[in-house]
Symmetry: C2
Subunit: 390 residues, 2 copies
């Protein structure tokens, strides 16, 4: 048995978890303390401060939920929604669909609007939906990990607020890899995950809610349906009172703190630029291989590159060989895109030029052996041109 816990070394370039910095792995193994230890309370305070920096917010209620990104989605929804509350959910991929499902289970009266996979919503479309009916919450996914589509958020808050609603944003994949401006954009509630551009193993879900959202929660008439995710109680543990709620995942918190420290050392804007540059280089390289993006032009995520599998190429064989021969994990297509797309992640610590070049060279070798490649070396050359011109 003991021999089996020797994980293979993978270059994680899928939809998450992403490659983890050694300092983050080392942080996970630091000595465990109690969840009410003075040291841990200080760790929580620092974590909250760093999360505020990452979310670009002054929101007091900024913390980490003790579960993965989907628990962050569920936490924000079950706290904001009481049975019968109308909620609008924008669906253009798996995670929008998940949000509608979670909202329905929370008792929301859910209305969905949809766009084809790979496309994004305009503010006008949402305004149109809001003109039909008033909604307590409007939920939308910023970085749809199933399609690689990048949803503009900045122009949405005014539209939602004018109609009297709260804007809830899924930033699981976007946080740390592209601008997420909670305060400037007027986002009322937001959640993320640790295993994407923060490059920490999965296990925690950063969330942030503004005063308006907190007031909605604190003036609920019914109990939050989830005890575990009840922010009226969790706020007392993360706040000054430090009232015990559940035993916090101590070592995961160490890992997230270290991951956020790395982000802070690099600088948030520098991290965004790095993600954008590596995306451009990857895109140039894939283009040279004749591979097209699945998401609409102008709305492609820098950290999650969903591309159409060229016709005649064996999806499973390519992913299998990347993993076995090169140690590279990329993601399969999900939902509608199963068997039709690859999802190439350049998230956090994975978003580095050496990974882009290695991936392109490896993919080219595999495609050439299947008789599908364009000019040999063209993809790496195209990527290097982007790096040369930066």
């Amino acid at each position: 048995m003991k021999n089996s816990l020797q994980p293979p070394l993978r270059l994680l370039m899928g939809p998450g978890p992403s490659a983890i910095h050694p300092r983050v792995l080392a942080a996970l193994a630091k000595p465990t303390v109690g969840h009410l230890d003075p040291f841990y309370l200080q760790v929580m305070d620092e974590l909250q401060g760093m999360l505020r920096t990452a979310f670009r917010t002054e929101n007091h209620l900024t913390m980490a939920i003790s579960g993965t990104g989907s628990a962050g989605m569920e936490a924000t929804i079950v706290n904001l929604i009481e049975p019968g509350d109308p909620m609008l959910v924008c669906v253009n991929g798996v995670f929008g669909g998940r949000m509608a499902d979670v909202a329905g289970r929370a008792g929301a009266d859910v209305t969905t609007i949809s766009r084809p996979w790979g496309e994004v919503f305009t503010a006008q479309e949402i305004e149109q939906a809001l003109s039909q009916r008033s909604f307590k919450v409007v939920g939308i996914v910023m970085a749809e990990t199933s399609t690689g589509a990048s949803q503009p958020i900045q122009e949405l808050a005014d539209v939602v607020h004018a109609a009297g609603g709260l804007l809830l944003v899924d930033a699981v994949t976007s946080l740390g890899g592209m601008p997420v401006e909670v305060d400037q954009w007027g986002i009322d509630a937001i959640y993320s995950g640790t295993q994407k551009c923060l490059s920490c193993p999965p296990g925690l879900a950063p969330i942030s809610l503004n005063t308006k959202a907190v007031e909605v929660i604190m003036s609920r008439k019914s109990k939050v349906q989830s005890w575990y995710l009840d922010l009226t109680m969790l706020a007392n543990y993360w706040g000054q009172d430090r009232v015990y709620h559940h035993t916090a995942p101590i070592n995961m918190t160490y890992g997230l703190l270290e991951a956020l420290s790395l982000l802070q050392e690099e600088g948030l804007e520098a991290a965004w630029q790095r993600h954008a540059l590596n995306h451009q280089a990857l895109k140039a390289g894939l283009s040279a291989l004749g591979i097209q993006f699945a998401a609409q032009e102008g709305h492609q995520l820098p950290m999650l590159n969903a591309v159409r599998i060229p016709s005649g190429v064996d999806d499973k064989e390519v992913r299998g060989r990347l993993l076995k021969e090169f140690g590279i994990e990329i993601g399969a297509g999900l939902g509608e895109f199963a068997g039709k797309a690859w999802r190439i992640g350049l998230m956090g610590h994975a978003s580095r030029q050496e990974n882009v070049l290695l991936f392109l060279a490896s993919l080219e070798q595999i495609l050439m052996s299947q008789g599908h490649a364009a000019d040999a070396g063209a993809s790496v050359a195209a990527a290097n041109q982007v790096y040369a011109g930066q």
Copy 2:
């Protein structure tokens, strides 16, 4: 900032997290792989096997929920309960009270029976409650961490089954530290945590459900209210189909696997005996200091020793000095026992004779300095007598 992530070395002898074996900390830091990586699927299989061994069950649906012990409580309840279902909850401490709260939020029609803090229920009392009304689920806490009371479980299943109900057991604190015989005792659903006698940092919740419980879940008329904890979907990820649900907490799973390996290497019965012996030694030592247990005689947990704070002793000062001068964390009283009890944990890797002796010697020094001690050295001598006579 970087300097702040240097956790102090604590000897964790509170109500959990417990002292962590270095091998478990090292496992947390092993390279992260993807949640659908062939290696990780193998880790999941091994984890399930080891959890079955720890729970003493053949239950197919045995897995780890991606949250702490309280998420395990919520997972079992929201899956078994549909709105309006009658549930009986036995309350003799904080965690029974929490179970009733969670059940109510899940829409259960909750009836509680109660015993004073520190006491346990008899099968007759439960039979009596079941004769008044039929209940779909009967929930009870085996090791009430707030009082140190050890609830006999073995005789309950027949009573519950005769009345047509399912027996749900909270084994957060008991698993790995005393007999928990899921199959032999006829427990239908059970949950635990990682940070007690399994000596893994908090973050996962082992659960196990038998065929009868699974059938109840699979034939639900309504969706499970929690998407994140929905076992109808999670079973597809942990089962043969490997359908993606949420991104599993990879590194936490490594830690739990290593913790279970340690338990398996020692042997489950040997671990139970170790916990029993160290409890007896601690009890003898505390008795020599004139310190009494809070739970009723004959029903005291081996891994969580809740004791009454001697009159005139300053609770906070004693705990503060233990932490500052000796690096030992013990737990404060919770709920009704706040300010009245200490909770001394001898859980998992913390349950060792060197910890018992060091704790007694440290406590004696502090109490003597406050003028409260009995014969100097008597507590260590009493503990050593237990070890000598083993």
